[in-house]
Symmetry: C2
Subunit: 204 residues, 2 copies
């Protein structure tokens, strides 16, 4: 909700309108669930604005079809058939990105992660999407598979009005420093603490 006033009015030479419309780089990190879930919730708003949405999942198995993916594919289909909302592209690293035809790297997760980032970088340069979800992208950064400095510089200098949300634990400090919005999901209580396992419709 657009309530509240900014704490400071910065001396950046921008009008309130220009400042308001700056594209957002958000990071959802922390130990607790809700990081990806909140990113997909944001993507619902983006869809409703008619924005082009690009989701890139860096860790989930390709076999794993999360509920959000199915719902967004339905929303993307609705856009394609009725013009409602925005377009949706959903890519998973899993068994290899859909656009990648290179063979022999199936088991090289680091190479696959770099391939994913290279594609995202191309799309950012082309201003392909309005709203990007880089789901669990913090891990390849944390593990050193993808160069953090390159990611930070590319995101900081991205052209146009492209919003980006990065999710996952252990977000590198340089990325956090570059972000406009950082939310940490903190565990207060989780059913697993009481011996309950994940369940369909709730955890996936």
């Amino acid at each position: 909700m657009p309530k509240g006033q900014p704490a400071v009015v910065p001396d950046d030479g921008l009008t309130t309108r220009q400042r308001r419309n700056r594209p957002i780089l958000a990071v959802h990190t922390g130990e607790m669930k809700g990081k990806s879930t909140a990113a997909f919730g944001m993507a619902l708003r983006a869809w409703n604005q008619g924005w082009s949405i690009g989701v890139f999942q860096f860790v989930k198995s390709a076999k794993w079809r999360v509920g959000e993916e199915s719902a967004f594919r339905a929303l993307g289909e609705l856009h394609a058939t009725t013009g409602q909302g925005g377009s949706v592209e959903w890519h998973k690293m899993g068994e290899g990105w859909s656009w990648a035809r290179k063979q022999g790297i199936e088991d090289d997760h680091a190479e696959r992660a770099r391939e994913g980032w290279a594609e995202i970088r191309r799309r950012l340069a082309e201003q392909r999407h309005d709203f990007y979800v880089l789901d669990e992208f913090s891990y390849p950064l944390h593990w050193g598979w993808v160069d953090v400095a390159d990611v930070v510089a590319t995101l900081r200098d991205r052209p146009g009005r492209q919003h980006v949300v990065v999710t996952g634990r252990h977000a590198p400090p340089e990325l956090v420093a570059a972000a406009d919005l950082v939310v940490e999901m903190t565990k207060v209580k989780h059913p697993m603490d009481a011996g309950q396992k994940g369940q369909r419709g709730i955890e996936w």
Copy 2:
């Protein structure tokens, strides 16, 4: 993702399957954004399971049409026309609940909040929905408009398999104690700190 093992296996006489399938009472609280957003993200998974979804918003103005509402109305329409996913009902307190015909309480927010809770209690007893979002319901509880003990007892004793997510700041300790899952959204950094106001597609 259903990874990880429970920290303890409780001595509650339930099988793992029974325990896994216990309905969840979740609370999203804390100072930071993402509370409602993550609840609507969870509702996407519920929709994908074909569950009946009931959203009850306790604070937002009726004039305020959030992006999530439009997207879920589209998903509900998709269910109605093609059978995909689950049904969606979206109710807002704003100018008065859609089911409420009682006149003269337009300006009595406390009475309206109690009316909302009374309806939710009826639906829980009837097992009307599979997944409830009680959005910003923590406020009428915090302000003493709705009786916390009644809410906690009703939620604790609700029949069947009904999942409930309550969002909002200042969740009462009794509600937190009764919940299975509690996430606190903690602010690390927010664009308003740098003088940026909310923007369409991101904040709403």
